[in-house]
């Protein structure tokens, strides 16, 4: 190990971590103001439970030596994950770097179900999804699983992150169902500058995502860096090809988005168009296509099963009336843009009363409980 590699990977890990709050701004700007806080939290919250289950179990299922399908429990609870070398960097740092990918992937899915999925159900879903879907898929491609043996290349998560998230997003949008206003009323973004801020920060974080995926500070990182600047391609192709791929890759995304808007599919923030229809590695098209199809099928199928099982335990979406009010109020009891007019302070000892249904008294008595 040398310090240059370690230094670059420390920075890369922090850069990828930034992408999750960046995604919160990107998604948050694209929804209506009554759901802004909820939507931002759907991204942001992945930093909590997902990071914890990743350390406890997910990392082991993905990267501990195991069979072709899933890793063993050797690294569960980060047992044996210390400062020894894993490639060019300390094992612990490798685990953190991979953790930032595991965090942003379920956050990406949220874009397909914003403005109507219950926050609790969403939390349960992403926590399970990381263990049941993300960890095995990461194992297949990066952890010595069967896709790696087939020779499938995934430099920086084309299959593990993007295809995986897009497939789950498509299924989640179908299972949760469209927003009640979808296709009936215009649903406009409430803060386009937020979306641009998020997009800018995502691009910035992407240098860690792609160039960091070299897992060292060498020339491959520099190549991936240049390609990230030119197009969302990474470490396997030349910069000139990256320009071409960026130009070509944007078309299916754009047309998928235009087409989706004409359908009943309420993939609210176009996760499928953005992540499912770009990328691809010329030169070994067949192997890549096979791995994409396998990841698509597994992710979609398991997402369906997970959501159906969850729906037996808890409702997946909020009721129509709450959907009208917005999830900021109904699921968080906090609004993104509160003005404070008419807010009556509830004194601590009375807060239990305040939740009861007889609060109209407060107004009749001039605001005093």
């Amino acid at each position: 190990m040398n310090n240059a590699d370690i230094a670059w990977m420390l920075v890369s890990t922090a850069l990828v971590l930034l992408m999750t709050p960046a995604l919160a701004f990107f998604y948050g700007g694209l929804v209506r103001s009554k759901n802004a806080l909820n939507t931002m939290m759907m991204s942001f919250v992945a930093l909590g439970p997902v990071a914890v289950v990743w350390a406890l179990l997910g990392y082991s299922l993905a990267f501990a030596p195991g069979n072709a399908v899933v890793g063993s429990l050797n690294y569960a609870g980060l047992r044996g994950v210390g400062l020894e070398a894993q490639g060019a960097i300390p094992h612990l740092l490798f685990m953190c770097f991979q953790g930032t990918f595991a965090i942003i992937t379920p956050a990406l899915i949220s874009g397909a179900v914003v403005e109507r999925m219950r926050f609790n159900a969403y939390l349960a879903f992403i926590t399970l999804w990381v263990l049941v879907v993300y960890a095995p898929v990461a194992h297949w491609v990066w952890g010595g699983g069967f896709l790696a043996s087939m020779g499938a290349l995934d430099f920086a998560g084309g299959a593990v992150v993007h295809v995986n998230a897009a497939s789950a997003a498509l299924v989640a949008a179908l299972v949760v169902g469209p927003r009640k206003d979808y296709g009936r009323h215009a649903i406009l973004p409430h803060n386009v500058p937020f979306a641009m801020l998020g997009a800018g920060l995502l691009w910035f974080g992407w240098f860690g995502f792609n160039a960091g995926s070299a897992l060292s500070a060498g020339t491959t990182a520099a190549l991936a860096f240049a390609n990230t600047l030119l197009a969302p391609a990474a470490g396997y192709i030349s910069p000139a090809s990256a320009i071409a791929m960026g130009a070509i890759g944007a078309f299916p995304s754009y047309f998928a988005l235009i087409y989706r808007a004409k359908t009943k599919l309420d993939d609210s923030l176009d996760v499928v168009a953005a992540h499912g229809l770009v990328g691809g590695h010329p030169g070994q098209v067949l192997t890549q296509m096979a791995s994409v199809v396998i990841v698509l099928a597994y992710s979609g199928g398991m997402t369906f099963v997970l959501l159906k099982v969850l729906s037996l335990v808890m409702p997946l979406r909020i009721g129509d009336r709450h959907e009208g009010l917005g999830l900021d109020v109904t699921d968080h009891g906090e609004e993104a843009y509160t003005h404070g007019d008419g807010a009556i302070l509830v004194k601590p000892k009375q807060s239990a009363i305040a939740h009861a249904a007889v609060d109209v008294v407060a107004v009749q008595d001039g605001g005093q409980l």
């Binding site: 206003d181 906090e334 003005h339 008419g342 807010a343 302070l345 305040a354 249904a357």
Partner: protein
């Protein structure tokens, strides 16, 4: 001539506007307002402080209409703005002394007749 003032839920505004435009009621003004209509306040929490939100977001629609448009307009709002829950809002019908259309100087009945779309 009457001035119809309706207070409706913000999430019902699109439905109301669509229904009004469909019935050729095209001259109106809206404003974002806050009010209390007897509904149960929701409790919110900010940094450890609990507050009851006594004022709910509403939209006020103001429409000046000629006499034979009054009842249809009221009926449209009644059906389009209704959810059946407390807090659906109110419709008030007020007398108007004079109305002028600024562009033409027309007054009263002439001032509130729908304008044919300009090519």
């Amino acid at each position: 001539m009457k001035l119809i003032v309706a207070i409706v839920r913000p999430e019902k505004l699109s439905d109301v506007l669509e229904a009004l435009f469909h019935a050729d009621v095209r001259g109106l003004t809206i404003s974002r307002v806050q009010g209390h209509g007897g509904e149960i306040e929701h409790v919110e929490n900010y940094r450890g402080t609990s507050v009851k939100m006594a004022l709910a977001e509403k939209v006020r629609i103001e429409i000046g209409v000629s006499n034979h448009f009054v009842q249809p307009t009221v009926d449209i709002i009644l059906s389009a703005a209704r959810t059946g829950e407390v807090g659906d809002g109110k419709i008030m019908v007020l007398p108007i002394e004079k109305i002028y259309r600024i562009r033409t100087g027309e007054s009263d009945q002439d001032a509130v007749t729908p304008v044919p779309p300009v090519e």
